[in-house]
Amino acid sequence: MAYHLNFGYIWRHFDKLTWGLVLSLELAFVSILIGMAIGLSLALAYTGGGRRVRGIVAGYVEFIRNVPLLLLVYLVFYGVPSIGGFAYDATTSFIITLSVYAGAYMVEVFRAGLAAIPKGLIDAGKAIGLNAWQRLIWVRLPTMFRIVLPSLSNAYVSLFKDTSLASVIAVPELTYGAQWIKTNSFRVIEVWMVVTPMYLITGYALLFALQQIERRFAIQR
């Protein structure tokens, strides 16, 4: 009883996978944007704030980083609406989860980036008479972004892989597409043989493309 591979059903429903892949990339993109906004504001609050602010930010970061993403996905999708008395669709729920998750990692990235700005640059800003806001906008943030760029592209690719968890709350991304095909055709092995390279190739293509951008903005030493 040899098993015969048969990819016919997968090719017929390949659009489920391509659109799933597009949705995966979108989910990761939206989440990293919101995550960056969360991360940047909290990193600035942490760097400039007092003990209490630091404690709150550190608590948020440690909590998110030490709890499985899967549990956070369930918690936001099933848990929060049950006490809030409202509902949102799975995609919104997953974007919220992944953004909050990305935010915790972004805080660390931006905090390290802000700390890595040479003191001389900030002093130079003071010397030419920029006030604190101007220094932030014109000196600290541009320098910080160039320092953290490699971490940002790694985080984006990592979030892209994490979007596979959205399948557990039926967000129609790539892994969900795979499971849909699996359930309808029982071509279990074939579908994973197709989907795994899709993740792999997309992930590395993304990383390669982002590295080109990094090189363009890298600080020359």
Binding site: L70, S82, T175, I189, L200
Partner: protein, 215 residues
């Protein structure tokens, strides 16, 4: 709230599975990752590329996809494992790839002069590795390794998706019976948090312990 407390013994059973799977994966990936990590740095060329490809491929696919692939795919090669063994294998294979990179980074952070000094005083390869490289590399190895251990505990939640009753699935099942999601998710999150946060604290303790090595 009383339901959440009554469910504690059941969650405890799940927690034990989570810890058991994590411990096995940590041990397996440490052994395999160290061997392959040393091999990728010091091994011959024909060994470099297979390990490099293994590590890059495994780190390039989502863990969830890898778990499903192994869980459903291994029987095709006439390898019939229990569901627990198949997820331990998937998680170990995934973590090994990460440990390889941690070991490689730790070894390569040691200046070449150290190896040369070892050669000069007549140490063989094994002796150099054991007495010169390892004691210094272990400091660079520990913090990212403990990160990987925390990641293993977190990643083990995914085994609930192939029907293994770990802490995650135990929580889901209790919610399925009681219909009180929020307290149980928070309870579960706290349980994971306590395990992982104490690991992170241990990591900081260890870093201080190995601070005798000068940069």
């Amino acid at each position: 709230m009383i339901f959440a407390l009554q469910s504690l013994p059941y969650l405890w059973q799940g927690l034990l599975i989570t810890l058991e799977v994590s411990a096995l994966v940590v041990v397996f990936s440490l052994i395999a990752g160290t061997i392959l990590g040393v091999a990728i740095v010091y091994g011959p060329r024909w060994l470099y590329w297979p390990i490099r490809i293994y590590s890059d491929v495994l780190r390039g696919i989502p863990l969830l996809v890898l778990i499903f692939f192994m869980y459903y795919g291994l029987p095709l090669f006439k390898i019939n494992l229990t569901n627990l063994a198949s997820v331990v294998l998937a998680l170990s294979a995934f973590k090994t790839a990460h440990i390889i990179e941690v070991v490689r980074g730790a070894i390569q952070s040691i200046p070449v002069g150290q190896t040369e000094a070892g050669k000069t005083i007549g140490l063989r390869f094994g002796q150099r590795l054991l007495y010169v490289i390892a004691p210094q590399a272990v400091r660079r190895f520990l913090p990212p390794w403990i990160n990987a251990v925390v990641d293993t505990v977190k990643g083990s939640a995914l085994i609930s998706l192939v029907g293994i009753v770990d802490l995650m699935l135990a929580i889901q099942q209790v919610i399925g019976r009681t219909y009180i999601p929020m307290p149980l998710y928070v309870l579960g999150a706290l349980m994971y948090f306590v395990i992982n946060y104490s690991l992170s604290l241990a990591s900081r303790r260890l870093e201080a312990r190995f601070a005798y090595i000068r940069e």
